[in-house]
């Protein structure tokens, strides 16, 4: 059966995730369609969703306006796999604090019992690339691209840590929900997108 995978296309780097997911489907030989998902209707037909990098305040406010925030929450709570990248991981959290400004009252999906520290590594000049490992999902080496990246500062006991960098938590997983502070869609290595596509596929069979 063919998978329908969406990239939330409210704001951010939608196209790069589209291309990485396409390559992942091709390499795995899995039949699937990738769509830009923006409206509640488009979201409701998905088997899996990527929330891309972008500005979390913008993505949150605009998905609230058109009613997609509510549908997203229902779909994810009913088991739809989701990969939240950077701003996307912030959206999955229940609390977001900015390193400088403090607690924000931005709309969040409140899916995971985690607190995010926004801009945790500093401003754009401090953005960095480095090698990280996600051993528990068999990705021992991965080029992590951190752009004004958040980190997870507080975490519920039921959440698995996939990767840390300098003692800060930068990738997490709970069931079908994955969050990363870095951008797998900006690098050539598509192993994390492949892992995610496999996860979606395993639930359909």
């Amino acid at each position: 059966m063919s998978l329908t995978i969406g990239v939330l296309s409210i704001q951010g780097d939608v196209q790069e995730n589209f291309l990485s997911t396409k390559s992942a489907l091709d390499e795995l030989g899995i039949d699937g369609t990738i769509i830009d998902a923006k409206t509640p209707d488009e979201i409701s037909q998905l088997d899996g969703l990527i929330i891309p990098g972008g500005e979390s305040t913008t993505i949150g406010q605009l998905s609230l306006v058109n009613g997609s925030l509510k549908v997203l929450k229902e779909k994810i709570e009913s088991g739809m796999p989701v990969l939240g990248i950077c701003a996307g991981m912030i959206m999955l959290s229940n609390t977001a604090n900015d390193k400088i400004v403090g607690k924000t009252d931005q709309p969040l999906l409140d899916i995971l019992d985690i607190t995010l520290e926004r801009n945790s590594f500093g401003r754009q000049r401090e953005s960095f690339e480095t090698e990280i490992s996600m051993d528990s999902i068999n990705i021992p080496k991965f080029n992590g691209v951190f752009i004004r990246a958040p980190s997870v500062s507080d975490i519920g006991s039921d959440i698995e840590i996939l990767a840390k960098y300098n003692d800060k938590i930068v990738a997490i997983k709970k069931g079908n929900v994955i969050g990363t502070a870095f951008h797998p869609e900006l690098v050539e290595d598509i192993s994390l997108h492949k892992y995610f596509v496999n996860l979606i596929s395993s639930l359909q069979n």
């Binding site: 196209q15 801009n119 754009q124 752009i147």
Partner: protein, 322 residues
């Protein structure tokens, strides 16, 4: 992954350090161009105060651009326009969570260094300010902080990318509330992209060399751009955008996002207009939503527009021949 066409691996702006076991890198093209990609489908708003920056953030702007005066006020004031007060930039950085950009004068290396040290997220080497060097732009590869530059044509865009710009925006005609020039520039860039793409597809290398000479850029950047069929960096629209419908139209022409200069905070309904322009940019292809956005503003509150044919100062010509 991102197009990295034209990237210079020997750039001084790339810094590496050892961290425990692994190396870390800052200022790479992936990080600089990647930052611009995170702004896509968003609106960057010109602001002059903390209060305006907070209105912009609440409206859903992806970033704010700090100026001393809005472009329309720069036009009225005359004289020399320089980079904004550092104290105001810092106050704004401390009060919003979204990225903060600021403008420096074309070719003014040290103004850019001051902004880099201030830790702004992106520097706009902008024609809105008075150029410091008519012949040379800044060699942006020397900076870890990414730059955005204005362009009226593919040639200008590629020249700026070769100098290290991580993002391009159309110049339009800033501070006029007249969107015509922004439309002209984005259409010109698109037409020229189609032209070099078709030359590339035909396999006529000699004709690509001719284009490179005409554009005053290297053959490599022309070939790689022609192969991609688009600019190798994010391309926003800017200059004269004043209404939600303006923003939606430019998005429909294939822009990656929108800069609004004077259009918001020079209007009398800034709060509603900021929100409305964000909505129209996000939902540009849903005409009912653009109409709803347009309904949020009152045309009688729009900034008074200027005819670009009778302007004393054409900001778009600044730095254009270099």
């Amino acid at each position: 992954m991102l197009p990295l066409s034209g990237e210079r691996l020997d750039a001084k702006g790339i810094v590496s350090e050892k961290n425990n076991s692994s190396d870390i890198f800052r200022g790479t093209s992936t990080l600089k161009r990647g930052f611009a990609h995170m702004l896509k489908n968003g609106v960057v708003m010109d602001v002059t105060t903390v209060e305006q920056a907070q209105i912009a953030e609440e409206a859903g702007a992806v970033s704010v651009m700090v100026l001393d005066k809005l472009p329309s006020e720069v036009r009225k004031a005359g004289g020399v326009a320089r980079t904004a007060s550092i104290r105001i930039i810092e106050d704004i950085m401390d009060s919003v969570t979204i990225p903060v950009m600021a403008k420096c004068r074309i070719g003014h290396v040290n103004e850019a260094q001051v902004l880099k040290e201030t830790d702004v997220d992106m520097i706009d080497e902008s024609e809105v300010l008075t150029p410091a060097d008519e012949l040379r732009h800044i060699w942006k590869w020397d900076f870890t902080t990414p730059f955005v530059n204005g362009a009226r044509s593919l040639a200008e865009a590629l020249r700026r990318i070769e100098e290290g710009a991580a993002m391009i925006r159309t110049k339009g005609e800033p501070g006029t509330g007249n969107v015509a020039e922004a439309i002209k520039h984005i259409k010109k860039v698109n037409d020229e992209l189609r032209t070099i793409k078709s030359i590339y597809d035909s396999g006529d290398n000699q004709d690509l060399v001719r284009m490179a000479r005409e554009f005053k850029v290297s053959y490599d950047i022309v070939e790689q751009t022609a192969k991609l069929g688009r600019l190798p960096v994010v391309n926003f629209a800017a200059g004269g955008i004043a209404t939600p419908a303006d923003a939606a139209y430019l998005m429909s022409l294939g822009c990656d996002g929108i800069f609004v200069g004077s259009g918001i905070f020079n209007s009398d309904d800034a709060k509603e207009r900021a929100r409305a322009i964000v909505l129209a940019t996000t939902f540009w292809n849903e005409s009912d939503k653009v109409k709803e956005a347009q309904k949020m503003i009152d045309e009688r509150q729009s900034m008074l527009g200027l005819d670009v044919n009778t302007l004393e100062l054409r900001m778009q010509d600044r730095g254009g021949s270099a």
